[in-house]
Structure formats: C-alpha cells, structure tokens
Symmetry: C2
Subunit: 646 residues, 2 copies
Amino acid sequence: MLTTEQISLNKIKIDDVFWTKYRSLLKSTIIPYQYDAINDRIPDAEPSYAVQNFRIAAGEVEGRHQGAIFQDSDVAKWLEAVGYLLSFERDEEIERKADDLIDLVARAQQPDGYLNTYYIIEEPENRWTNLYDCHELYCAGHFMEAAVAYFDATGKRKLLDVICRFADNINEVFGPEEGKLKGYPGHPEIELALVKLYRATGNQKYLNLSKYFVDQRGQKQNYFTEEWEKRGKTLDKSSVFKEPNLHYGQSYAPVREQEVATGHAVRAVYLYTAMADLARLTNDDELKKACQRLWDNITEKQMYITGGIGSTEIGEAFTFDYDLPNDTMYAETCASIGLIFFAKRMLALDLHSKYADIIEKALFNIVIESMALDGKHYFYVNPLEVWPEASQKDPRRKHVKETRQAWFGVSCCPPNVARLLGSLGDYIYSSTENCLFTHLYIGSQINAKFDGTEVTFKQSSQLPWRGEARIEFEMENSVNIKMAFRIPDWISGRFSITVNGKETDYTTKNGYAFVERTWENGDIIKLFMPISIQFMQANSMVQADAGKVTVQRGPLIYCLEEEDNGQNLSSLLVDTEAAWIEKEENFPVLGKIITLEADGYKEIDENNQLYSIFKKNREKINIKAIPYFVWGNRGIGEMRIWLRYH
Amino acid sequence: MLTTEQISLNKIKIDDVFWTKYRSLLKSTIIPYQYDAINDRIPDAEPSYAVQNFRIAAGEVEGRHQGAIFQDSDVAKWLEAVGYLLSFERDEEIERKADDLIDLVARAQQPDGYLNTYYIIEEPENRWTNLYDCHELYCAGHFMEAAVAYFDATGKRKLLDVICRFADNINEVFGPEEGKLKGYPGHPEIELALVKLYRATGNQKYLNLSKYFVDQRGQKQNYFTEEWEKRGKTLDKSSVFKEPNLHYGQSYAPVREQEVATGHAVRAVYLYTAMADLARLTNDDELKKACQRLWDNITEKQMYITGGIGSTEIGEAFTFDYDLPNDTMYAETCASIGLIFFAKRMLALDLHSKYADIIEKALFNIVIESMALDGKHYFYVNPLEVWPEASQKDPRRKHVKETRQAWFGVSCCPPNVARLLGSLGDYIYSSTENCLFTHLYIGSQINAKFDGTEVTFKQSSQLPWRGEARIEFEMENSVNIKMAFRIPDWISGRFSITVNGKETDYTTKNGYAFVERTWENGDIIKLFMPISIQFMQANSMVQADAGKVTVQRGPLIYCLEEEDNGQNLSSLLVDTEAAWIEKEENFPVLGKIITLEADGYKEIDENNQLYSIFKKNREKINIKAIPYFVWGNRGIGEMRIWLRYH
C-alpha cells in the first residue's frame, strides 16, 4: 500500500473556512513570534537562550550554555515549521531568517560532524556519556526532521548536508559492531527522524540505525543502568528521578514485549511512531502487533476524551489503565501531537478509521486548544478542569496553569504546534494504487496520478460546525478509482454520500465508506455526516468521571467556563434530558462559533456549614457551554469538561 | 474557671464497654510492641534506631546517628505513653523498662544539660544552628511531656530533673536578653510542653519561655531566613523545600496576625495548642481571638468529615479553604491528635460543645481508625478513598498506603496514638467551682470535691452504638452542683435527661445541657441522645465532594469496602431515600459492631469503550457500609467514604 508519504506535501493546498485562519496565523504571528522567542526577544517571558547557545558554540560570542540541555531542539523545530510553511507559502523574510539560522547551525558543527551546543560549550569531553538524561540524540533527531522539511520545501541542501554529516557521525558511534556504543536515546525522537532522513536521502544505513535504536531499547543488561554506574551513579541535575527509571523512558523491556503504554508520554508516542514506521518499512509483523497493542491500550484505557495523554505530572507520564484524573493530569500538548504522529503511521500500517478519529480529536481539542487565539500564548498542560485558586495554592496543581503562557523555560510545545499546523496537509489523505482515502474533512486541493491520469481533488468542508463536505474532480480524462471516506466516530445518524446530487450506495470496511466508479471531470461528491449534541460518558472504570457527562458536538468537546456560568462549576448539574439551544457567537480570529445553552441546576447551600445533613436543594439555572478549544480566551476563571448531571 | 487540668488524671478510671478494649490493647500490645519498635526488634519493619542513638550518645556503643533527625522524640513519646498507662494500671515489667530507658537518657545528657542524640553524635559544634529543620527544641518538648507524665504517674523525679536541667539550658540559650538567640522551633511542640513543665514544677520561667517562643514566631526579620543565610543558604538533607518556607512552619507572620490555618498541619495545631494555653494562663484576649479564628478556619473550611486535617502531602500541609481532595489528602494521624490537643485547650479557654464534638469525631474516626485491630499496624495518612492500584502505581498517591504498616522510618504517629489512648481520661470531664462538665460519653469514674464534699461520679455509656449514657452519684453528703452535658452535634432528635427515671428540664448554653439541683448519694442521671443514620453532605464549595454523600451514624462515619461491595466503588450509588438495615456483626477485638445495608445501584457498562454516548444503565444491588474506623482490617481493597447517590 502506498501511504501519505507518497502524496507530496507541497502538492496539497489547504483552503478551509476553519483551518485557513490557523494557517494564516502561522505565517503572520506564530512563526515570527517563535523566532523572537528563541532569540530571547519576548518581554516578560522566560528567555530561551536557544539561538544564543549556537552563537557561543560557533565561537562567535563568549558565554555559558543556558536553558534546558535540549534547548537546541527548539531551533530545529522552528526551522522544521518554517520548512512546512514555505512548502505552501513563500515568505522571503522568514526564509532569509531561516537561512541565516541554518548558517549559524552549520558554523557550530564540529569538524567530525558532531552538533550539540550543550556538550560543545560545557562538556566536550563527555559526549554520549549520559544518553538517559542528556538528549543529544533527541536534538539530533529534531534537526533531521527540520533538514528534511526544509529541503522538501526549498530544495536547499545546506541543513540536510550538515545533518547527514552528524547522522554519519552518530552511525560511527552507535551500532552493533565491535567497539561501538550499544546505547539508544533517553528520549526517543531520532528513530522516527532517521526514517525521514532515509526517505529523503535513500540511504539505507539511516533506516538500519533507526531499527538498531528501537530494537536495542530495553535489552539486558540495561544500557541506562550500566551507563549510570559507569558515571559513578550520577544523573544530570535536571533528572526527574533519583536513579534511572526504566519505565520513564520505555526501556524496562524490549519494545516488542511491552504490553501497556508507560512512562513519559511524549517519549512513548515518539517511540511508537518509529516502531510503526519500521513495522511497515521492514514488514515486521511482531513489531506491528506491539504497535496495535500499545495503540489500543492508550486509546481504550489511558486517553482523555480530548485526546490528551499523560495522567500525571510526575515524569509527565502514563500511570495505569483507567486512571484519568481531570484536575492533576498532564495531557501535554507535545504528547497529543506525538499521538497524532503515531496515528498517522498506524493509518499507513493498519488502515482503520479509528486512527484518523484520534487525529481529528486531538487536532480540534488539544492542538488548537493549546494555543491562545492570538497565536502568542500556549498551554503545556491541557487540563480538563481548572480551579484557579488550586493552581495557585495547591502544589499538586501548580503545573496546571490557569492561563496560557507567553513562553516556557522548557518550551517544547509551542514549536510543536507550529510544525503540526504547518504540516497539516500531510494528515488529510493517503492513497493506494487505485484508491484515494480521505481521513480528515479539511478544505484542500490535491493532485494525484491514477492510471496515468493526473487528477485534482478539491475538497471543501464545513467542519467542525456542520457535518458536510464536498469533493470535486478536475481532470482531462475519466478515471476509474475508489474513493474512500472516513466515517467519523462522532456521527449521529446515517453517513450518506451523493454523487452529482444523487444519493449513492457505498461499501464499508475498517470504518471507511468506499465508492468505486468511473469519475468524470466536474463530478461532485457530497458527504453528509449528521452532527448532534451528545452527552458522553466514560467507562465506569474511570473513577474520576464517575457520575459525570460531557457534551460533544461533532468532533468538538464542550466545556463550561466561570465567565458564562459563575463560580463553583462543581455545584452545577446539567439536565441530560433538556434540549440544548445552539447559538452562533462571534469569537476573535475564528469568527462565528457555536455555543450551547440549556436548562440546568445549581446546588444551593442553606448555611455556611462545612458538613450538614443531606438535603437536595437545587435551583434551575441556565447553563452555557463553549467549545473546549476556545476556553481561557476571555480571562482567568474556572473551567470544567466533565459535568455532574441531574 | 477551673479546667480539666485541675481534675487529676490518676483519679479518673475508664471502664467502658468500647474503650476498655483499646486501653487493654495499650497495655497488652501497643506499648510492648512500640518498645520493640524503638529497639529495632520488629521483623520486616523499618528500623527505628531511636534507642540505639541514645546508647551511642551515652558513649556506650560506637556508631553513627541513624534514622530521622528527630528520632529521639519516639523514645520520649513512648515514655510519655507509659506514664499515662502507669497512672491507671501498674505494670512492673513496663515500668522497669521505662526506668532503664530513663537511665539511658540521663547518661546521654551532656554536662551542661543539653540532650539531643543527633547533635551529640554528629555535630556537637553545630547545636542550635538550624532551628528550621533540625528539631532540637521539638525533641526537648517531647521529653518535657514525657517527664511530666511519668512524674505524675509514678512520683519518680529522675526524668523530670534531667529535663528541667535541659530546659534551664535552653532558657540560657534563648530569650529576649542580650546575647541570647532570638529563635524559636521549626516544629512547634516545646511551647505546649513548657506549659506542662510550668504546671508540674510551678516554675514561672518555663511559662515565660513558652510565651517567648510563641510571640517571637514570625517577627521580622524572619529568624529562619536569617539563620539560613548565616549557614550559607544550606538546609538539612531532610528539608522539604529548597529554601525556608515560612508558611510551612507558620512563621510568615506573628501568630496574632494569622488569619487561616496554614503549612504543616501538625506544626500548626501544636502551635495553636500552646497559643490557647497561653491565652488562658496569661488572660491574653488578642491571642484568644487568634485561636478562635484559626479553630473556626480549620473546622469550618479545612477539615475532613473524619476530623482529618492536611489536604496535601507536599509539606504535609493545609492548602486553602474548601480544598479537601479525598484521594491525595494527607490527614495525618498526628495532625488529628494535635487537633484534639488544641480542642481540649479551647474547651478550657472558650467553653463550647463544638470543641468536644471535634474531639469525639477525631477519636472515633481518626485515632482508633489509624491503628489496626491488632494494635501493631498503623496508618500515617488516613485516606477517605483508597484505590490500591493507584497507591501502588500513581506517584501522587504513593503516600496513601492501602494497608496499615508495621512501623515507619518516621514513626511519629504510632506513639502519638499510644499517648492519646493512655491519656484518654483527660478529655472526658472538666469542672468549674460548682459544675461538672461531661464532654465525652465514655464509661468512667471520677472523684471531685465540690463545696467540701468528695463526690464520685460513675459514668457508663453505650456509645458509639447506642446514644445512651448514665451517671451515678456516690458521696456521703448531698451536694448542690450543676451538671453540664455536651449535646452532640450528631444528635437526631431531642436530647433528653432523666433523673432517677423521671424526665427533667434543662437549660442550654454553648451546646451544653445544664441541670442544677441538690444531688443525693445514689442519684442516677440518664441521657438519651437519639442516633439515626444520616446522609451527610459537604458545603457546595468543596469540589471534591460535589454530588456525594456520606453515611453517619452517631459519631461514626461509615464507608464502603471492596470486601463487601466488589470492585470499583465509584460505580456504586446509594439511594438517599432507601432505608438502611442495621446489622450486628462480630469483629475481632471489638466484638459486636453495627454495619448497615441498603438497596443501592451499580452502573453497568454496555461495552468496553472508554467513552460512549451517555445512557443511564444501573442495576439494583445491595450496598453494605461499615464504620470507617474498622476499614482495612480484612485485607487490601478499595474503600471510600464519599458516595455517589441516586
């Protein structure tokens, strides 16, 4: 089967009522803002030092390395996002800045190809001695992704060449051969990046190195433990635990033996992404089964209804099945973006709509939610429940920020949002020899060749507000292909398809609706996906959601805010039998959005006692829900997704 | 007004159907077991090193100090508990062990009176340089309490003399005079202990020193911050925070200005206890107001329905008003015992039944709950909700042990339980010139002199199972006094009193019922306190309890256990309109207890989906509740106090 990777990204143009606003923001604000951030030019934000570190490493200014040990990755992710942007819209100023930055990166590279500002500046003699903590391979991976994206978009080879030299250097240091280190990264990332480098260069050794890193992980004796002992049992000062925690970085067992998603959520999904790539590229059925098992464990037992993952701040990690606290969770933006990466690879490996359902869920409810509508403020942690006083006063909830931040000392999330928005086109379609799969309903235009005929597909979509999409064909000759459309998991009613205005039958398989015929120029397919307002519940094993419902409308999860409903949202109850009224409301940037109102109840205290004899004492009130992805854009206040019901 | 302290403890004999079992356990098991514990003789338990440290400090064996820096206090608390035991029941073997231990303590004392094994062994040159972390004054306080209790019970002065020499040494080091240190303890305790030492010796300087420590706390410049700077900004390795946290030890402001209970809960209530003592003994109205304010803040905004306090493990601390999570709380045993200390002083300072209500609540629902029925296993943290898998796998809940432990590295709680059970008689009554107050309904006998006549009061009580108590008079002459009886806050119906079988009128004030008459030998008062099963709710500001009720029967809070109700207690709902059936059931040690059964509901999942469209799907089941204080005595499983309702 061909995969999305065979549909060249720069052949996809996004033109969507909803998403174009975010893509415009990418160019006008997000990328320029993040450039300022990595150059320490955002007032009142924690400085990044990321670019400064490269200047020092290049010997152009004096100074110490500052910021996180993996700060280089923010430069890489910014360059990667620029690559994606330039693939659909040229911008001379941004391209010049990127070229200059690439020149700086090249000047910082060491004669043998090595490239990591922390070690170059601070501990040149200690390269590769602390893979557990020190992120050298992680940063290398991000530069590989950046190099491939920038090369794909611009055809410029400079960063790609720099990074291939580094990859070659890494390949000389690590591997099964006598005398090489038998290690692998503490934070997976290079594994999936090496697959991209393999695709861009055709050089098999990069694929082999990726496979080596993946298969070496968790083998006995454990590399991280041995490495730690060799270092005299010291860890980096940034280390989360007191000794190497083998679950944290998924190295407690070989990956093929891992049964449940565990440890640091971002590390986990980056690792699984590479595993799925390798399972497909090397036809490795055992690895595929591990991917399926881990996917199912995440999405059926350890995922928030928003698509958030990571139930605890401690280690930013998965905990255990059905443990999904709404107030102390982590649900890091990067983790959901990693889940989208994993989902995309699973779609290529094991085509099923369940993977695309999660892409859509995480896109709407985490990726864009994590960013303020101004494009300049971000959540790292995406809570399902916020009580501002608790965020300020309870140390257990200090990580749950009640408002989006201008930047972070560790600022992995904002550039991850940028690169995902930039590469959004990569998630919409995939194809086989005679079938075009539409995974996401996002207005866009794509060209693909079927049976020698170049076909242009023009999609328009009314999601997330209305469940309608439309595909028009443009081509010179007629063509006989299958068109496959994802049937969304949120659909309420019958998925129906018309061709040129006439309802048509379809077959279904793996959650997709298939229509096969000879298509003519100008043919129009319309898809009807009934959206209704649904109360959703969690499995009864999820103790945190017991006795609660949430409101879903199409792909969007809704929430209540203090702004609309007053203080103490925990005293409110929705009426699961009341009808919701949809209202169109203007929001900045987005224009019209749909908010919901219905009758509900509020509990009233008869006195100030802390505890008293139970008495049901409720008054009728009006409850207003807004899409979760826009919460927190109107000031600080309580918010909650899971609601008590009457 | 006279206070409980004027009723000599060794004149009170407890003979109660319920409590005598615990008091017998104290002698047969608890005190011998804890002696073995501090002597490191409990297999499979963390060693204490507490006695060993004294041997090293006395120069009798070689070695380093081990265990917590305040390990000495466990020796002191054991001796104090022995003192209480010997006040009502002699035991030659235990007394001999205590005398030997006191001899050892005396041999460890330094020529100038100083006594602290950590500093004697490890850092003799650094005495009094880290009051914030290092607990020298805290340990001194515990030895003062032990010395007074042991002297009161046995008349033996040895420990009292040792400790007075230490107190004199401390008085030379600390105080307002030129050249003395202006510090005060990081962990309050010595303040309340100096009041006891003052009472036992009549020496005013001990009272003055207590007052000095209390008033000095939180004055600017902050002593802990200055001391830390003098040390080169170092803290002890055991320190919880990275720099002195002034809320943690209630030193952020002078105590008279403190508005809400804050910081480490045990420190807070030990401090408030001394404040209440001093407010009474020095007629300090400002201090009294601070005590009332802090009491009300705790009990009206920051206390669990069990009488537990401390909402977070981080700093074992209060957080903020209405923040009462049931699954990650701390609710340390010592903190509720400290709350009982505080309540007793408030009763003496500001007589009102609300203080005794909390003593009773914490006694039944924390103090005895914290100990297994075998007397050999203890909770440090007293959870309102236990999910064993979470305790094992979620680092946020690691401190919430799902089963009582044999001992702890820091084992402050078990000896605190022992000394409280030993001194239980001290909490039952207090008197004024012409009135005997009965605060607790616990079968007991007490002698007191009124108007020259020695009167013996014989109380019997059927609590906690039945709301009846009986007081009989024994005396030579008739006597005209007031009898005051606490009207419990859990009463459901009319509190009624008969004298010699005939119902009598009473007046009420501050929650007490008063009956005044001329009493004759053999007069019998009976008290009727209707008990019913009540569903209780929390104030709607308590987000953690929203939509939940708990079951209370008299002074007892009830809970559900997995043992009786199967897994996943969060899927169960009680029916607030269903009738509970009371059942008598045999429990080890306790004999018959009352359990409750009623119809309820269980939510059923229609499939294994993590999230699905809401559908009320409940089956009727039988729900069984047991008194919270016996939970966890039948193996490991889920438990919860706050229950969803139908």
